[in-house]
């Protein structure tokens, strides 16, 4: 009986997912794609019949057959199939390295086929730093199983014991007769059927030759020559261009509509389907003119704004409801919650503080885009999404189709940062294409992306803690309203910590963001730890070390402060030094920041950052450094100046001119220290590198100025209403 692998619970994304039907894998498509190549079937049963969508019971399960995951062609080239998508985090490279390693092939022999729902096994999506810890080992296992099967096949051809054979450089060799057979020669002309084995020995990281090395980005040349086709670059013969009419605010109702002028334009077709109003035109210019020519009047109801957002979120909070960032969003507390005991003022200090984070935008440089084509009873959509199968299911549901009738293709896209989980543009393009009777391309404008995508949730964090004068932490409470429970648990030693997440009724469309609520909760916790340290006159590093025994977190903390020169870093009114650390999803991070304060202009500039990182065995040190630097730079935005300004159901700053994102002059000198733990499983690294920068900077600002900034963004260019005005700009 074939086994099925269940998707780990962690893979449930924050948005609700429609019930998954099943993975459809059509063998004919493989053969079309790969011509004379062979499918390496390593199960003892007929894999294809079982993968045709039967028997999965609607659960999120994926095939265990090697053949679903990798294919060795007659020329020895290996194709690897995964539903994970490349969005700049460099997994096209790092996953190929791991397969190359297990198959003992050079990196270039591996081609990754990613995010095409007709070609790859089901996958819940690319989020939660799960590619490296989940997909990595899965593909390694499949490749190692294939390696064993190739050895056994060669052994049969030579009538020898497989254990006497060697395997390297794409060939199996027989030392006894000095003969060798390439992988392609071994699979050619026959259907390789072997029993898969999950006990196939994996090559340990200590012996890695391809994995663990700084292999450059796969297909890097295509990006410096402009030849890579992103979702918004896809073009089809006879393709038309679409635009969608947007209301003037959220939750608006349409009062009147006049489409006369638009419909008079040459080649323009109006599409109306309930609340959905769009146009298609022969060219992009005309589509823009047509949508602008539509006269619509809307009524937008009164809605919350920045001014009252935190009051609103707290007033609308429910205790213990499921929410962002984890399947289990129940309050985390000790079996018998213990209220912080009232300390004697002589030997302990009790503090309570609130911290806030604003709604911020992912603002991926490539906005949402899709090209949809209805042809021969099948809908095919090229789009930028982190959840190709999720988008497929949205399309299935919206158009009442069978999953086999929908194919979603995800070309490597202009990033997402957690912001492209939904299929908005795909649905819109598909609806327009159905009406147009032609393929339709739809690319959101920057303003649409800033308004109609979703946001990183705003949140309010309330912390209480008690510390004895010798630095011992004796009580801890941390509540989060609305933004999520990721990163809510404290890594510090304290008896009976109470942490609680309160879901609320968000006034804006909100969902995932890089590291989810970890950024907000780390900002609150690491700032509060700093406040506790200062309350007893203790060095913030000493205070952390005193209450920390988690060895991996201590290791990055020690590595960061050593590289940074913490011992010699004495803050002055114009120069501040701060520290923060944290861990989640197998990533361990410590961040030291140096800030310069200009009293005359009341401005803060981040001068230097040292970040130490450890996430088990390093798969690609170059990619890992790149992710850490990128996370720090992105974290500077939310930390210092990014905020969505909204009122009356409208986004007030839906442009890069008014929504400031980090630029060249904002990026400090950054040094990354990687700790490579070859003895530990590799964890994901795309997210958690972002959590340390904001509190480290806030703590550095305090060290220099004595001003404790408890609201993110801490030094906005444009003041944000509803929070204490910051004494600093940036």
């Amino acid at each position: 009986m074939k086994t099925l692998l269940s998707e780990p619970a962690l893979l449930v994304p924050p948005e609700p997912i429609n019930p998954l039907h099943c993975f459809q894998l059509d063998r004919r498509d493989f053969l079309k794609v790969f011509g004379g190549g062979l499918l390496v079937c390593l199960t003892g049963e007929q894999a294809w019949a079982q993968e045709a969508g039967r028997g999965f019971g609607g659960r999120q399960q994926v095939p265990a057959d090697v053949s679903a995951w990798l294919h060795i062609a007659a020329d020895g080239k290996v194709s690897v199939f995964t539903g994970k998508v490349e969005i700049g985090q460099n997994i096209r490279t790092s996953l190929a390295q791991q397969v190359a390693e297990e198959l003992m092939l050079p990196f270039d022999a591996i081609t990754m086929v990613m995010g095409d729902t007709d070609l790859v096994p089901y996958d819940a999506g690319t989020f939660g730093s799960q590619t490296t810890p989940q997909m990595g080992p899965r593909l390694r296992t499949m490749a190692a199983t294939a390696r064993q099967a190739l050895l056994e096949l060669a052994a049969r051809q030579w009538s020898v014991d497989a254990a006497t054979l060697t395997i390297a450089d794409g060939k199996v060799s027989n030392p006894a007769n000095k003969q060798s057979l390439s992988y392609g020669q071994l699979t050619r002309g026959e259907k390789l059927v072997a029993t898969g084995s999950s006990s196939a020995p994996l090559i340990p990281p200590s012996a890695w030759k391809v994995a663990g090395t700084p292999v450059p980005k796969a297909n890097g040349r295509e990006f410096v020559t402009g030849s890579h086709k992103y979702p918004s670059d896809i073009a089809l013969p006879g393709m038309m261009f679409g635009k969608v009419l947007r209301p003037t605010g959220f939750n608006a109702t349409l009062d009147s509509l006049d489409t006369t002028a638009a419909e008079k334009m040459p080649g323009v077709k109006l599409v109306r389907d309930g609340d959905f109003i769009g146009v298609v035109a022969p060219d992009a210019y005309t589509a823009e003119q047509a949508i602008t020519a539509i006269q619509a009047k809307w009524t937008v109801p009164a809605q919350p704004s920045n001014q009252n957002i935190f009051e609103y979120l707290k007033n609308n909070a429910e205790s213990g409801r499921g929410g962002f960032g984890s399947q289990d969003a129940r309050p985390q507390r000790a079996a018998a919650p213990v209220a912080p005991s009232a300390p004697s003022p002589d030997n302990a200090i009790q503090l309570a503080q609130q911290y806030t984070v604003q709604y911020i935008a992912h603002a991926p440089l490539e906005p949402r885009a899709a090209v949809a084509q209805w042809k021969d009873g099948k809908l095919t959509v090229w789009t930028g999404t982190q959840r190709p199968f999720g988008v497929r299911d949205e399309l299935v549901s919206a158009f009442h189709l069978d999953p086999a009738q929908v194919r979603v293709i995800q070309p490597d896209m202009g990033s997402g940062y957690g912001g492209k989980h939904t299929g908005d543009a795909a649905l819109e393009a598909a609806r327009l294409a159905k009406a147009a009777g032609a393929p339709v391309k739809l690319v959101w404008t920057r303003e649409e992306e800033f308004t109609w995508a979703y946001f990183r949730p705003a949140g309010r964090m309330e912390l209480k803690g008690t510390v004895e004068r010798d630095g011992t932490l004796v009580a801890w409470e941390h509540s989060n309203y609305n933004s999520g429970n990721a990163g809510l648990q404290t890594p510090y030693n304290v008896a009976n910590p109470v942490t609680q997440y309160h879901a609320s009724r968000p006034p804006l469309r909100q969902a995932s963001y890089r590291a989810l609520a970890s950024t907000a909760n780390h900002f609150a916790r690491e700032s509060f730890m700093d406040e506790l340290a200062h309350s007893i006159g203790m060095d913030p590093l000493t205070f952390r070390r005193k209450n920390l025994t988690e060895p991996r977190l201590l290791a990055v903390l020690n590595a960061a402060v050593e590289k940074f020169g913490w011992a010699a870093a004495k803050s002055t009114p114009t120069r501040g030094f701060g520290i923060a650390c944290g861990m989640e999803k197998g990533g361990h991070v410590a961040t030291c920041a140096e800030v310069a304060i200009d009293a005359a202009s009341k401005s803060v500039k981040i001068v230097r950052v040292v970040q130490a990182w450890e996430s088990g065995a390093v798969v690609n040190p170059d990619g890992l450094r790149n992710q850490n630097v990128g996370a720090i730079v992105q974290g500077i935005g939310g930390g210092l100046f990014e905020a969505i300004q909204f009122a009356g159901g409208r986004i007030l700053n839906p442009h890069f001119e008014s929504y400031r994102v980090p630029r060249f002059t904002d990026a400090p000198q950054v040094e990354i220290v990687l700790l490579d733990r070859k003895d530990l499983p590799s964890a994901g690294a795309g997210e958690i590198g972002i959590v340390g920068i904001a509190p480290a900077v806030g703590n550095a600002i305090f060290a220099a100025t004595g001003a404790r900034l408890r609201d993110m963004p801490m030094a906005p260019t444009t003041p944000v209403s509803g929070i204490t005005p910051s004494p600093l700009n940036s």
């Binding site: 969005i87 700049g88 985090q89 460099n90 450059p216 980005k217 890097g220 040349r221 990006f223 410096v224 020559t225 402009g226 030849s227 890579h228 086709k229 992103y230 918004s232 670059d233 073009a235 261009f241 060219d283 992009a284 210019y285 603002a363 991926p364 440089l365 490539e366 906005p367 490597d412 896209m413 202009g414 990033s415 940062y417 690319v443 404008t445 920057r446 170059d622 790149n626 992710q627 630097v629 990128g630 996370a631 720090i632 730079v633 992105q634 442009h655 890069f656 001119e657 994102v661 980090p662 630029r663 060249f664 002059t665 904002d666 990026a667 000198q669 950054v670």
Partner: protein
């Protein structure tokens, strides 16, 4: 619709477009030169940067009528006979990208910058490149790539 003749990457390209259509729209949607990216359409992100008579411009802010007659170079026009320019090569060697969506605009901006300032300081690179957004935050590496390209050009690499 009017007919325009654009000089793009050394070739004369005849195209029918509206006179007030942007150069970006014409390049991407009518000439299939999709290496030049749409990021904002407002001249705020630099993803659409191309060279017009050697100057870096936001192609989303240039009307096609105003581009006719100028010598336009897009990212597709840099590589010659399979050889990357020193700027392209430096971006590749340094790994100065993550998702790569900003890369074309960055390369074009850096190409113009090094033409004007062959040996820029780090501060000059940051200031001159500041109109180009990399949302993935690879700025430090991009600065390194521009410096490396400057060194390469100084040693006689083709511009």
């Amino acid at each position: 619709m009017s007919d325009f003749v654009l000089n793009v990457n050394g070739a004369k390209r005849r195209v029918s477009a509206r006179a007030d259509e942007t150069l970006l729209s014409v390049l991407r949607n009518r000439l299939d030169l999709t290496g030049t990216k749409y990021g904002c359409g407002e001249g705020e992100c630099g993803a659409c940067t191309v060279l017009m008579d050697g100057q870096a411009v936001h192609s989303c802010q240039i009307l096609v009528a105003d581009a006719a007659g100028a010598k336009i170079t897009t990212i597709e026009g840099l590589e010659q006979s399979g050889k990357l320019t020193p700027v392209q090569q430096a971006f590749l060697d340094v790994g100065a990208m993550q998702c790569g969506y900003c890369t074309a605009g960055m390369v074009m901006r850096a190409t113009a910058l090094l033409h004007e300032l062959p040996n820029p300081s780090e501060a000059q690179i940051r200031t001159r490149m500041n109109g180009n957004i990399c949302r993935c935050g690879t700025y430090p590496r991009i600065v390194d790539a521009v410096r490396q390209a400057a060194h390469s050009l100084a040693k006689g690499g083709a511009r």
